[in-house]
């Protein structure tokens, strides 16, 4: 029974891959509708990644647009040596890294830092309260926690942040992340360790 289900899944995956390949070929031949179709398949994920990497929606939109435009301009260079998803994500992550590095080197472009009004409460107490319901106070508390998380995220380097996001929010394997970022799995792993330590230190410190 399990074997049969797995067989069906792999057949479905193969069919999906073949369909995607056909779309990519059409897009490479100049079929704009095919490219639009490819965009619709992945743009939620791309926007989610962009939104988590940068705080402002305008910045996320910039990354989204620049990423897809780069993909469009370079589509003729795609040689089917990896999946379209991997290729697209490689472009988007590089675009996002460029964006993060630019913002790091130009702090005047940063949005105003959120106010730190934690009131001295235990971090995990707040976290437990925040999930309790739709109470406005709790919602406000949740917002504060979100701001503290954002502050903690800002302590990560662009690469650490990228690895952490892709691992924990996009469920990607470290090997794939390393491949996407043009580095080794080991380097990606070390980035994940550093990111985790930093987040732990920043978020545990307010307990």
């Amino acid at each position: 029974m399990t074997v049969a289900v797995q067989g069906d899944a792999s057949r479905a995956a193969a069919a999906q891959a073949a369909e995607e390949q056909a779309l990519v070929r059409k897009a490479q031949a100049g079929d704009r509708a095919a490219f639009d179709d490819l965009v619709r398949r992945y743009d939620r994920e791309v926007l989610r990644l962009a939104s988590r990497l940068v705080q402002r929606p305008e910045d996320a939109r910039d990354i989204y647009q620049e990423g897809f435009l780069r993909a469009y301009r370079n589509l003729h260079r795609f040689r089917f040596e990896c999946s379209f998803y991997t290729w697209l994500y490689r472009i988007v992550t590089n675009t996002a890294l460029d964006h993060l590095r630019r913002r790091t080197s130009r702090p005047e472009d940063q949005p105003p830092a959120p106010r730190e009004e934690d009131g001295g409460k235990d971090f995990f107490d707040k976290q437990a309260d925040a999930g309790a319901g739709a109470n406005p106070e709790k919602a406000l508390l949740g917002q504060e926690i979100g701001q503290q998380i954002e502050q903690a995220m800002k302590t990560l380097s662009p690469r650490e942040r990228m690895v952490f996001e892709m691992k924990h929010y996009h469920g990607m394997r470290l090997r794939a992340i390393g491949d996407m970022l043009g580095t080794s799995e080991e380097t990606a792993k070390n980035s994940l360790f550093r990111a985790t330590r930093k987040l732990r230190a920043h978020l545990s410190g307010i307990r």
Binding site: R32, R61, Y72, G171, F193
Partner: protein, 389 residues
Amino acid sequence: MNAHNDDNNARFSNVHRGGIDPAAQTCRDWEDLIVLAAANDELDAAELARLNSHLAGCANCTAALARENNLLRMLAEHAAEPSGALLASCRASLEDALDREEEHGWISRMFGPILPANWLAPRPAWSAAVLLAAGFAVGILAPRAVVQIAARHGYAGRVAGVAATPSPAAPSTANAETAGNDSSASDTAFESSNSAKAPAFSPGPLDLHYADVAGINVSPSGGGSAPPEVVLHFNAQQPSTVRGTVNDDDVKSVLLDVIRHSNRLDPDICMNALDVLHSCNNDPEVRAALCRVVREDANPNVRLKALQALDGSDPEDIVRNTLVDALAGDQNSDVRIQAVDELRDWAASGQVGPDKRMLSVLRSRVQSDPDDYVRAQSAATIREIAAKQ
């Protein structure tokens, strides 16, 4: 901080590979493995089994794994999802951008392969060669082409009074006849050595650029006070010559152009031009140009020749001041000698009065000029001026 990280990495590697006896490991050694355990699918079966076996007997690490999972759960719960409005706005912006890209892009797709930027970018050597060729074309060929085109256009409106003479390289009966018939009509003639049928034209400052003068030949006049005949040779794709005397406006214009740009031209050509202009040094335009050469040319031989070309000119202020300045400041003794000689001639003929500045310079030269002749001539000039007073 880096040392700490290296230390941690080394510990992790050992634990990860099972290189340390589990009994000797501390909880810190398991830290990174716990991070990987919390991140799904990153530990293989053997690593997972080893970690589970450790966790079974270690409350600290079990608690650490729970904290790790809590941290990730908390981060996931507070991770904001992009709104549908933002996604819609992004899609709309991308549509517009792709539309613009498509409009612009069809040109690239059609002509991309032949656009220089596309095939030169990956080939630096080709790029360098193309740049050199472009530089050569713009710097060398274009000015010549412009001169030629200007010459052709100039022909239509300014043939009157100009006789075409046959080219020695490509004689033409028709042109020979024309030259024979019209040579008396004008002293100036244009010759083209490559095209016997090339029309004659009257060269002017716009037609014949100084930079294209390749040489100046001067033939003594037949006698009397007639000026010498001048032949100007021009470099061009179609080499040409202009024949005439300095009294011809076109010839004078080219000669003036030559000395105005004396610093950029072959000194021999400049000195030939200065020689020719000597005969009309009372022409204000020529006089001013000669004075400029005396003051500004970098080559002392050219400055000396310009002073000689001024010899015999009327004692106008501009010339007197030029001579005085040359005597006062020129580093070349031959130039100073020429200047003081001319001043003395003027003084001897009573053409100069007791100009204060001139006297001051002469006295200064008497006292301090390193050249004996200049000192002696300066003293003699002062005496001549005094005698005339």
